[in-house]
Symmetry: C2
Subunit: 262 residues, 2 copies
């Protein structure tokens, strides 16, 4: 079983590092810009050393797992010093696999399709992992690594992974923003957020059961332009930025189901 | 226990009528423009007669429950003929309670905060019901009716109910549309829709546990304008209408977390 060094100690590393160790891959080092942050994650592991340095030439690890924010890669990668035989792996959806080519002869990607927070336990066994690699032996190693975490392991190239990440932005980031908008509307009217819990749960269950195209309901789906105009006008008067969101999304639904402009 | 007539045989009536009967309120008639549709629902009830006529002057029912699409009310209401002592109730979120005032001295609203389809069983015990009424005895009757279905019964006036319905449009209609957009992106790349199931489930669970403002992640939340520009440009080239949705929602998230324009 290859040993791992984890570079980054944020939300992704927080969940992946202990799980990989449980799956039989000892973590030898945890890097973070902040030694304190590195130490917090290292304490969740058996014998990992926290470090602030990116010189791993003396490291006993073979796999170097980058768990960074996408915009931190350009600063971190040129500072990395790796031992001979190292395999460099990133965990990003949008970044191409080839991003790592200048820094290590063997490289790959292990992208978990999930949103992580330190405060939330996640059942990794139900998370799809997407892998890509510079060569067949590296791919085999990443398949073995991912299979220790989950039965859902997919080989996707950079283009497919970027498409999947973009779909995830719609399904997670934007969906969460809409739940936020709904909460704001309720809170401003002193209505409890629990009023929408059953509806949101059913929205997701129904979209998965019937497919979201068949599950669509509401004024835009019905083409009820009178309700649409009234609701948009009310939002424009009270929450102008939500009025823009309302207009854009209603227009798309109208276009899809009725081929007509708002 | 007052007897009911159900006016409309669509998705809402399909779920409410049998549940109200189980709760002890016999349904005596089911109206639909199409006798066949009325009959399909009447067959799910003990002794309900299907009808195409809106003259209920000889009806044994006391409560007349309107389960219509919002835009059907203006055509149906003026045709209604009710017996003395009737209570007229609608089930719409956006329509005001007073809409019914010209047609019956006692009236009210019973609004279930849920999305219904004939093909999906819904656990009404977990659905919030919002009631409003013309007078205290009618309100009591509607509280009793709703309490037979669910423990979550709220008295909301028309303004509060309209606000809640608008929040529900964001939480359900628009969320479903985003799931549709994500599915379209995956399907066009021949990626399986199951890739996003764990993510969507966690999105909802996390938003409820942490609150959606704290749960927000993604390029716009991080202020990663490079990824935002790239993803928008790619959508503009491949799915121009999704590019508009992407731009609008990213701009709102940026504004909320970073006070800066896209």
């Amino acid at each position: 079983m290859p040993h791992l060094a984890v570079i980054g100690a944020g939300n992704v590393a927080w969940h992946l590092a202990p799980a990989l160790e449980t799956a039989g891959h000892p973590v030898t080092e945890v890097y973070s810009r902040s030694l304190n942050t590195a130490d917090l994650l290292a304490r969740r592991l058996y014998q990992a050393a926290p470090t602030q340095h990116l010189d791993f030439r003396q490291s006993p690890a073979q796999v170097f797992l980058l768990c960074l924010a996408d915009d931190a890669y350009p600063a971190v990668l040129p500072q990395l010093r790796l031992p001979p035989g190292a395999i460099l792996v990133h965990t990003s959806g949008p970044l191409p696999t080839q991003l790592l080519a200048p820094y290590c002869p063997q490289f790959g990607v292990l992208y978990p399709v999930q949103t992580f927070s330190k405060a939330r336990a996640v059942n990794l066994a139900q998370v799809p992992f997407c892998i890509d690699a510079s060569d067949a032996p590296t791919e085999q190693l990443l398949v073995a690594l991912a299979s220790g975490l989950s039965q859902q392991v997919y080989a996707l190239d950079s283009t497919e992974r970027q498409r999947l990440h973009l779909a995830a932005v719609f399904a997670n980031n934007f969906t969460n923003y809409l739940l936020h908008a709904a909460d704001q509307l309720l809170a401003a009217g002193q209505l409890p957020p629990t009023l929408l819990q059953a509806l949101v749960a059913e929205t997701v269950a129904k979209a998965q059961a019937l497919g979201p195209a068949a599950a669509q309901t509401g004024p835009a789906r019905r083409g009820d332009t009178e309700v649409l105009a009234k609701q948009e006008a009310w939002l424009q008067a009270h929450y102008p930025s939500l009025a823009g969101v309302y207009r854009t999304l209603s227009a798309e639904i109208l276009k899809f189901y009725h081929q007509k402009p708002i």
